[in-house]
């Protein structure tokens, strides 16, 4: 009986299919990815069974965090640049080209107009650290209303979405909705998490 030969297999394997697969995935993720914008605050939105998706573009996001601070954000760099011009004219503050550029890259912010200049002058790291006071919403100094109004004048197609934390007190949300209604915005979206729709 001949000796059983142990077959020596080559330890290197063909990686071509693996590479094919990997590049397919890379391409897929590159094409579907929209980079996650860095938000000024983290909010924990309540959940609902609603199945409407928010549109990708032309959205004003009014974020309300659990300390009742209000943040404003809009997409579109041109919109933001034009918006800052208008707000600067209205509040008598002037911004340099560089500040406009920084502003057009911000995803959202929560500082009053008079502090906006120093906020924009910060380094982007420092900007994350700083404690933003929120946009004033009281009736004597209603800056949120102006931001919304001017954005709607700049880009009439915008949809308004309110992204509130679960623990925001109702009067704050009510005030935000009242501001929108004062500006003749009667239709807006509340951003919520997904929840299974009950079957019964």
């Amino acid at each position: 009986m001949p000796k059983v030969k142990v077959k020596r297999t080559n330890p290197s394997l063909d990686m071509t299919p693996m590479v094919d697969l990997f590049f397919l995935l890379v391409t897929f993720f590159m094409l579907t990815a929209t980079a996650r914008p860095d938000e000024a605050v983290i909010v924990d939105t309540p959940s609902s069974a609603s199945e409407i998706k928010i549109p990708d573009t032309n959205v004003i996001t009014i974020t309300v965090d659990k300390n009742d601070r209000v943040f404003f954000g809009v997409d579109g760099q041109q919109t933001k640049a034009a918006l800052l011009d208008k707000m600067a004219g209205k509040y008598g503050v002037s911004f340099t080209e560089e500040e406009k550029k920084t502003f057009s890259l911000l995803s959202n912010f929560g500082v009053p107009v008079n502090q906006l200049k120093s906020y924009l002058a910060m380094e982007s790291d420092a900007r994350k650290e700083v404690n933003q006071p929120g946009i004033p919403i009281d009736s004597t100094r209603n800056e949120l209303g102006d931001w919304v109004l001017q954005t709607r004048l700049t880009n009439p197609q915008v949809v308004i979405a309110i992204k509130g934390d679960q623990d925001v007190s109702y009067p704050t949300i009510k005030r935000v909705m009242d501001i929108l209604q004062e500006r003749k915005v009667n239709r807006f979206n509340l951003i919520t998490d997904m929840e299974m729709k009950p079957t019964n």
């Binding site: 590479v19 928010i54 679960q166 109702y170 509340l190």
Partner: protein
Amino acid sequence: MAEMQQKADSGGKGGKKRAKRQSTKIDMTPLVDLAALLITFFMLTTTFNKPQTMEINMPVKEDTPDERIELKASNAMTIILGENDKLYYYFGLAEDNPELVESNYSADGIRKVLVSPQVKSNDKMTVMVKPMEGARYKNMVDILDELKITDTKKFAMVDISDADKQLVQQKMGN
């Protein structure tokens, strides 16, 4: 990597000069490494699911309050959102001293009331949602969600009145 060593061995011997047979295989390990790195990067930076939204249309604020229609007591239901995630409801109008019932946000709570015949069989039934000062935003979203789930078409967000507050106080006192 194994191929590289083989190549080095074959080149070492002298003798007859032969056309070197280069292996067509390339080592793909670095390529795979790079591809895997890119996949990881894109997977982590992607926001996959877009957030859900709930669309609400608020009624246009009338400049002339006279055009409003008086709501009949038999067609009115009020849900009061209280502090600490409490929920109360009553049928009829606050002036008639209705019976305030405590309920909750679960499937057995307010949803049962909203699908009950008293609400469902009456086409004119209008649900008024009155959040109190201490209510949370989550409560408001939850109740709007319940109204949507139960397919209640006629509802309104109304400011809380003093009569409603008194009813809740009485209830809490008991």
